[in-house]
Symmetry: none
Subunit: 421 residues, 2 copies
């Protein structure tokens, strides 16, 4: 186990996964934790409640990987076939385990329940398997070894699986695994498409050394994920820092945050730190900007108010946009975006104001003003300006992209970067 | 292809999945839709951005299943190796596709972007592959056939994958597949927890005959999914209709919609049909109600305006809530909720108004007014009332639950059902 990183495969079992009834969240949880130990996950497989398919997937996994982690098919219901599959694979049989019996008896006592037939099966485990206690339920985890390789079986119920992972599996894997460390860091960008971002970053061989870089697009922008694998944490961290530095030197102005940070948190922190306040006047984004800002705990310190001026009448009455301006320039125009931003700024006495007016679609577009056209205004005490954007996608994607662009406009203004898109 | 149901396998590609950074939601989406055609998913596999592993997974899948559906690794960046894997598998090469070139050129033109080097790769597709249009992005889907089996490759970005699935893949698969029919119907409920809903529906054997019923809880309410499998569409549809009728007879007042319908669509349709208008005054929901209402195309016909009155000052200035009332009753109170609803109703001259004021947390709670306490007001020309709710969960869950409860309050008012929670 020296030199080479240990590899693992994940097998999740359950018909409910194959019909799409349930989103498989166990995979991401297990992968992240196992990866954190420096063990590389090479493959994930999902099979149904079918004995032959399960046995085949176990055999395939153990032929390729050092560790095979399995969830599902251990519950007290009729489709509990995972234990049978383990026996088939290891050519062994099921025997009653007294520790499991005592555990189930004590759980039943706490819940004032009596022993049921289903429990008779639950206390039988494959001979030679090590039982991993399940503090959250009746079905224990199982740890089996063959030819120096490990097969771990856990129930599929997420909180039971998590309890067994944290309590038994991760400590055992950490002990078994000497060495490799994997570190990741995500940089969040917005306002630049994936292809242009790749161009901006340039020659990846120069940037990355032995690191890897993934481009992960989303409606709010492209995330850049740096991954480094090394034998020591210090080496890995230093390489991640060098790579991040090079990427920031080339595309820094598009990077608004790291990890899970959302743009509304970044902008909110900047406003709070400087004692500034914000109000928004939204037409086509329909309240989404206000909603995102108020998703952040503590936003009441800097968010003064929002207006969703959907009708022309409300633009006039609530924001003071001149009626003549709307009929002359059109509700979706630079002039109206600016008047909306100015209107909410003056009425709220905030430090900054954002405004949006556009055509979210799918109807309402014209050749001159197509679906996706959005004017975003930004005002402060000194001046006001509006920037034109054209976004693609569905109505809700256009709203989301316009919200992101508005918050990014404010971020750049706060940083003294160019205000343009 | 007669008698036996077609089988499919799913392959999702991406290092981000193997390290657990991203929860794999594509699998459940694809599985549910493909299952809906009566095609059985036999296995799901996830591999990393590794050419050999991808080619091997394609070959394994095509050896076992009639259809292999692949997502991921089609973006315009360096880790785009899926197309290369397709060529390796099918022993062919990449050729420039003029349809794809024109599609990308038109997307770039709309967004005012210029051609980048990365696009030169994007327009090359495996010879003999059929290109499936991607209305939501640059990378097209690919449909390949070999020995009567199908390999479909789609980008991993969920909204692009969904657009290609709905627009091209599902229609093509439906055409190809003859045989068993699986029909599903989802009834959406809100305002009642899963356990009480189960009680309300009662004895499932009586209700279901040979159908299956899944309870799917979410922050917006519990969805009830009826599934029926039969050899003929007519038989399946008749059983679904009988089951739906029985469920509606027992729990109808909690059911606001079916399928993917959101409450804001249902309420919006009711308002539009009757020529009524709505305005909202939000405090703790922070614009989320307005944003949801304006997610619906055509909402400008009935949504007059929204105010996000986050500060006390804005409640006074924009909604006319008396300052003394706020200091006497507190901003989070029945009185203020009612005053907010009345204020926006009068100022907007709408038919209906909704208001929210509450404590979204995680800070700001007191023993008398804990986190999760929300007053929701509803006003029309004749009267105004406010209903008290206590929601659990994180800040964003409390916002979401309060938005849903407010819209449900309006739905019940419009139907003449009881106005209470």
């Amino acid at each position: 186990m020296t030199g080479r990183a240990m590899t693992a495969e994940l097998i999740t079992i359950g018909d409910e996964l194959l019909i799409g009834q349930v989103v498989n969240t166990n995979q991401a949880f297990i992968a992240e934790r196992v990866n954190g130990l420096g063990i590389r996950i090479a493959r994930m497989t999902t099979v149904g409640d079918d004995l032959d398919a399960i046995v085949a997937s176990f055999a395939d996994g153990m032929a390729r990987a050092d560790v095979v982690l399995v969830t599902g098919g251990l519950g007290p219901t009729h489709d509990d076939i995972t234990r049978t599959a383990v026996c088939r694979l290891l050519d062994t049989d099921l025997v009653v385990n007294e520790d499991v019996r005592r555990h189930i008896e004590s759980l039943l006592a706490i819940r004032n329940l009596s022993w049921s037939h289903a429990m008779d099966d639950q206390i039988r485990v494959p001979r030679a398997a090590t039982v991993l206690p399940n503090p959250a339920g009746t079905a224990p985890g199982l740890w089996c070894e063959r030819n120096g390789r490990v097969l771990v079986v856990m129930p599929g119920v997420p909180y039971e699986m998590k309890a067994i992972m944290e309590g038994s599996v991760l400590p055992r894997l950490a002990e078994r695994h000497a060495g490799r460390v994997i570190i990741q860091r995500t940089l969040r960008t917005t306002g630049i498409p994936e292809s242009m971002l790749a161009q901006q970053i340039g020659d990846l061989d120069e940037v990355l050394e032995t690191a890897r870089l993934a481009f992960l697009p989303s409606p709010r922008g492209v995330r850049l994920r740096i991954s480094v694998e090394a034998s020591e944490r210090g080496t890995a961290e230093a390489l991640v820092a060098r790579v991040e530095g090079r990427i920031r030197a080339r595309a820094g102005k598009y990077i608004y945050g790291t990890g899970d940070q959302e743009l509304e948190e970044v902008v909110g922190r900047m406003l709070a730190d400087r004692g500034l306040t914000l109000s928004v006047a939204e037409s086509c984004t329909g309240g989404e900007i206000a909603s995102r800002i108020t998703d952040v705990s503590g936003s009441s310190a800097y968010f003064e108010r929002g207006v969703v001026a959907y009708s022309n009448r409300s633009k006039v009455e609530v924001l003071g946009v001149p009626e003549g301006l709307i009929s002359r320039a059109g509700a979706v125009s630079k002039e109206v975006a600016e008047a909306m931003a100015r209107g909410i700024l003056e009425r709220s006495a905030s430090s900054f104001a954002l405004s949006t007016t556009g055509i979210a679609g799918p109807t309402g577009g014209t050749p001159g003003k197509p679906v996706g056209l959005v004017w975003i205004g930004i005002a402060d005490r000194r001046d006001v300006l509006a920037v034109k954007f054209t976004f693609g996608g569905s109505r809700s994607l256009i709203k989301e992209r316009a919200s992101q662009a508005a918050l990014e406009l404010l971020r750049r203004r706060l940083l003294g970067l160019d205000g343009g898109g």
